[in-house]
Amino acid sequence: MSARTAPILPAPASWRLPDRGIVGMVSLIVAETAIFTIFVVAYLYYLGKNLSGPEPRQVLEVPVFISICLWASSATVELAVRALRRGSTRPFGLWWLATIVLAAVFLGGTAREWYHLIYVEGFTIRTNLFGTTFYSLVGLHAFHVMVGLVGLALVQAFAFLGRVGPEHAHRTHVLGLYWHFVDAVWVVVFTVVYVIGR
């Protein structure tokens, strides 16, 4: 090769760029936020525009307990990640398990709510505009909880096999970001559906 090689410039003293796991996850969260925004807008826009009953007030109970569970799981996941950073894998496993249990309780609660609405109240996605927007918005969120749960469960499985160590703290942190997002969305959905909407 007759070509000269690269001029070796002095590399800048400190060249640090953001971590790609975090940037990727934040981008994903931004995108997801846009999806939820549209569903929330549709929910609010159609509030009170039903041509026939039932209205939210008549059928919805405020799911206080499961909401607290979900929000609490944000704390447990954080504690788990911190434990892992310190290198304590056992506390990590326990906090992580707690997160999973709390998430499962949340999903179970939603399932019960829906069962009641569908089989007792006879209120479905076809009933009226409220039905359509309600099941879509809450369902979309529940779907995200499920996806998160699958992610959490995978980590748990590895943890059981003893394959999770402090070197994975960063990855669990990134997954934790997603989980915080799911919880934050529930704050919005909760407010919109059970506070403003009722």
Partner: protein
Amino acid sequence: MTSDSLTLGGAGAADARDGTFLETLHDWVVTVDHKRLGLLYIVYGIVFLAVGGLEATIMRVQLAAANLHVVSPQVFNRMMTMHGTTMVFLVGVPILFGFGNYLVPLMVGARDMAFPRLNALGFWLTAFGGFLLYFSFLGGDGLYGAGSAPDVGWFAYAPLTSTAFSKGHSTDYWTLAILLGGFGTIGTAINIITTVLCLRCPGMTLGKMPLAVWMFFTMSAMTLVVMTPLSAAQIMLCIDRYLGGHFFDTQAGGSAVIWQHFFWMFGHPEVYVLIIPGFAFASEIIPVFSRKAIFGYPAMVAATTGIGFLSMGVWAHHMFTVGMSSHANTFFALITMAVGIPTGIKIFNWLGTMWGGKIRFATPMMFCLGFLFQFLIAGLTGIMLAAVPFDWQLSDSYFVVAHFHYVLLGGLLMTIFAAMYYWFPKATGKMLSQTLGRWHFWLFVIGFHLTFDTMHIPGILGMPRRIYTYEADRGWDVFNLICTVGVAFQALAIVLFLWNVVRSLLWGKDAGNDPWDAWTLEWAVSSPPPHYNFALLPVVRSRRPLWDFKHPEDPDWLYE
């Protein structure tokens, strides 16, 4: 050209592997290399450009004279819908994301994208979306009735898409295909954003990135926040169609207008998602062939992000006729016209770049010059449409069709061709023929102007769009005939281009690393680049690292 070119990696074709056809095919299918994925996207887009062009040709033949019966109304409407959907989702988006994929890592001095496997997933989702859409042709009444291809128009206004008015599965194909492709695109956008933020080579601060990288970054960020609302709206449509929901069901109190809002919240930013990469190509090519640094880099960056933000607030200019309040109409008109300001800044900065330069009329530059003039006209007809009272007359007429083909062909497609001539040598190691390039350019420009200049007139004479035929007494026939004639020139131009590609691949002149004497990092590696891109990671000090290298006596970093 400087005799001693810089090599940061690769030794010509050292990377090319010999294998059986099957092995090669397998390599391409399972590849996670950003360059190969980029090329796959681009080839995919070109194939669909021919398909979409064919659909356009069918429409143009049907419209060549009044009261023709070349195809049935059903077939026409399907061609219209498939043409629009194909051109936007299967041509524009893939080609541009393909270039983004190919160029961004090379330009920022990275060895691959941030998430190579996600990248492959993105391409294959997009690809399957397209195949699913075209699979619809095989359904229903067989091919003559064009199967059960969608016939609701590319923006599929509710409630025409509801099960009551769109029986069968045509709309399902449309919505699922777009949903699928949308997910792929979102993945790729995340990838580009992360690559730009996290993988730049040492020394390349945000302010030293090539303009094209800034623009691909902006375009990806926009994709992230606008493609998702489209997906949300498609999910709602699916809920309506499959689960009996009422989002857009006007019988149950649902709103037809809210679909329009959701669609255009995506649809308008989408057109800038398409044109900003066009700007990216122009911003790389014009300086190189004017032999001058880009004029007003900070202003260009500001204008790009400015367009990005403003474009989120203009969507309802597609809805001036739905009966919004006069305040809403005024507001959206104002913001829309305001987008003209940053766009103008760009045109002026390109002008400033050429001013005092030495313009070389190589094929890529010819296409860029064509772009400058045509995009100027296109933008100004956009301003006419943004002028609400004028739009009450022009909306949904052929004037709008002329406007958007002017931006999409006169603007976007011209820069895409420019980019193909410019980066083809990098990607393949062979030059495209300049002579054929010139024929391609002139034939295309002539055909384009025959078709789309003329198309404004029937719009002014009251011809609505999306009609499969028209009456003879309206004075539209002559103009429509000229439009149709122009297509022949465009088709010939595109065939010449395809021939040029084939010919050059087989017998083209070798390109060398840096055929255009250019300044960004991709020209410092071999053509085609080795699959790891850079043997040693480059370190840069300015926006034009290769300029610094070629002109050590007067490097850019002294001035930036």
